[in-house]
Subunit: 429 residues, 2 copies
Amino acid sequence: MTRQAYKTISVLPMAGRERLIGRELSIEKAIRALWDALNGWRIETERVRAPDALNRILAQDVVAPADFPPFDRAAMDGYAVKAEDTFGASPTNPALLKVVGESRIGQWPGFEVHRGEAAYVDTGAPIPKGADAVVMVEYANRVSEEFVEVLSPVAVGENVSKRGEDVKAGSIALKRGAVVGPAELGLIHQLGLEEVEVFAKPKVAVFSVGDELVELFPDAPPGKIVDSNTPMISSVLRRWGADPVASEPVPDDVDAVKEALRRSLESCDAAVVCGGTSVGEKDVVPEAVDSLGPPGVVVRGLAIRPGRPTGLAVVVGKPVFLVPGFPAAAYLVTEFVVIRFLWMAMGHRDGPPRRTALARLSRKVPSHPGVTHFVRVSLRREGDELYADPITASGAGVLSSITRADGVVVVPPELEGYEAGERVWVYLM
Amino acid sequence: MTRQAYKTISVLPMAGRERLIGRELSIEKAIRALWDALNGWRIETERVRAPDALNRILAQDVVAPADFPPFDRAAMDGYAVKAEDTFGASPTNPALLKVVGESRIGQWPGFEVHRGEAAYVDTGAPIPKGADAVVMVEYANRVSEEFVEVLSPVAVGENVSKRGEDVKAGSIALKRGAVVGPAELGLIHQLGLEEVEVFAKPKVAVFSVGDELVELFPDAPPGKIVDSNTPMISSVLRRWGADPVASEPVPDDVDAVKEALRRSLESCDAAVVCGGTSVGEKDVVPEAVDSLGPPGVVVRGLAIRPGRPTGLAVVVGKPVFLVPGFPAAAYLVTEFVVIRFLWMAMGHRDGPPRRTALARLSRKVPSHPGVTHFVRVSLRREGDELYADPITASGAGVLSSITRADGVVVVPPELEGYEAGERVWVYLM
């Protein structure tokens, strides 16, 4: 926006206000508008080796090729028995059973267990035919090579892992969109799958705009400020599975921003441009974006606090996020707008699955109707209650309000805040 | 343990039971015993460049070298004023102020604002001397080059970020032991710190023991099972900041385990050996550990379910964790014993800061007194309540009980379980 445009707004202040505020959209509507304007953009998928799937997002259901476990097996070291033979057994009145064999891991037992009989089983070994429970070794007294005393009863199925108990052949073991954590990674290995189809990590360019900004270096010139938003935004992107490509700050100059953005989008799938998005004189980013061809800026102004000056744009068919330069706003907009969009593109309609907790507000939280408020809170356990203390911060510029926060309470637009003592859902950070 | 030793246990079953169960320790006592036996083992620290600090754990407090912001600055684009000049202002009764200058980002304003005056300020620009509030540009009507109408009152301090408001010089901006997330990374940059002191990532060897185990490969021989624990345990370690060094499965052979462990500890700071830790005949790991010199196995048997056969050992002065081979037990023991120990060594007395949520149990959870139970639960939001559904699983071998779990309820040893409807704390996974 040039000086001239600024003056236009200044002499028509209410219209200027309208220009921004009148177009404020909810996050849902804004993301939908961006999506519609993108017209076919998508996140690619790729096959990765099972060991490399950690923290990736599945692009296809993982179907079990076979039952797991593949046979009934012992869940404990002990003796495979017919459970009814142990009923009433106790240390003073043990059940005496004949030991007819041993079942070893990786070998098929060639014998059967009948009434009055038992077979030693290793944990994980197949249960011999006829047996329906396992007496733990601690409750068995091997009185001789041939006989064992059972000191405690077992129920049918006790200490037995049934065939298919963990995963049945043909069943969906993991759903498309699931995040591969440690347990999912173990399951993929357990199923013997060598590769899985995952979403490619979207490459997202990140840079900040501002004459005052410098990259971290030993002695920043006086009056300059280190660009903390670019590493912060990059970290949020990395944490949620994207591949950030950070570059140095760009001055408040339309041509410089245009060139930086054009170059970034040659190799990246999307871009986050931080700063220069408000209605002030120096807001060169929207102009730079629009100069790169239609559709340009699709949404300008979101009905969220902080984060109102957020813009969504399409440049060379790719999504570009105009994120406010205030650190706390930059953080929240990246978490709740950029990440939500990227995860929507990976089948998560409402963004990534975030952990939530119910907590009791220790203070009133006011909000404007029609606007979604993100209230940073710290959490405190007190007896059997979790309390959320709203963090007092005089502006979105206060980064420590984020480092001190344990979570975020989202006040929806249909409410006028929450009262002290109300129980609210907290998104845990 | 040789066949002979097994027989000794078998013919003296209660003593054998005692041998394991009688020594069962709580996690706290077991970790303390391991720590005492380690005698000086510690996790090193290192300096990393600020951009590389993401997800690292601070080994020193981060002290702010200067106030941030370094001066009072505008939190909004607008007009710096004396607040009292705006009291009573409205669109129908605006306050007319004389514009005496502009304050730009990165430049020091060389003028002062007196009663009846205003100065245009960019967001982030220094507040000129004399001014004590900022009127947002949306509430200002620049009627001419020389005058501006203020349409709404502002309070003293409104839209001003005070010097040191975010972080005061000399204050501890981040504490030793803090995990560097995106916001902390931003703050480190904002403070202009080039490097921070963090804990080195402990190198932890991970391997599984079992004749039946193979590394993932196209066609596992019949009767063999893919080793899913090693990648799973490695993933948990990686997720919590360690540097896992996974190797292939080792057969149930004392010499093979001994050699694998000896070799691992040449280059690693610690080891996790999965499987072969119970009292069955094939439990070669404790014997292998003890053969590598004193103190060897320090703790055998924890008062936890699942995970009872867990062992803690010291080999060549380094901690070695003997983790049960059942996948769910392996997972939980890694999360709640191994990780807890490693984080204790990094100043987190009670292990890593885990997210917790209060939830209402949908079913009764039984437990044995004197034993800590880890109950996997899935969480369900229903209206204004979070419900925890205990996951029914017939054994610790059921890995899908972990993939389906949203969290874990820890039943402490002093309780005999929880009733249906009780509100409990859930550790979110």
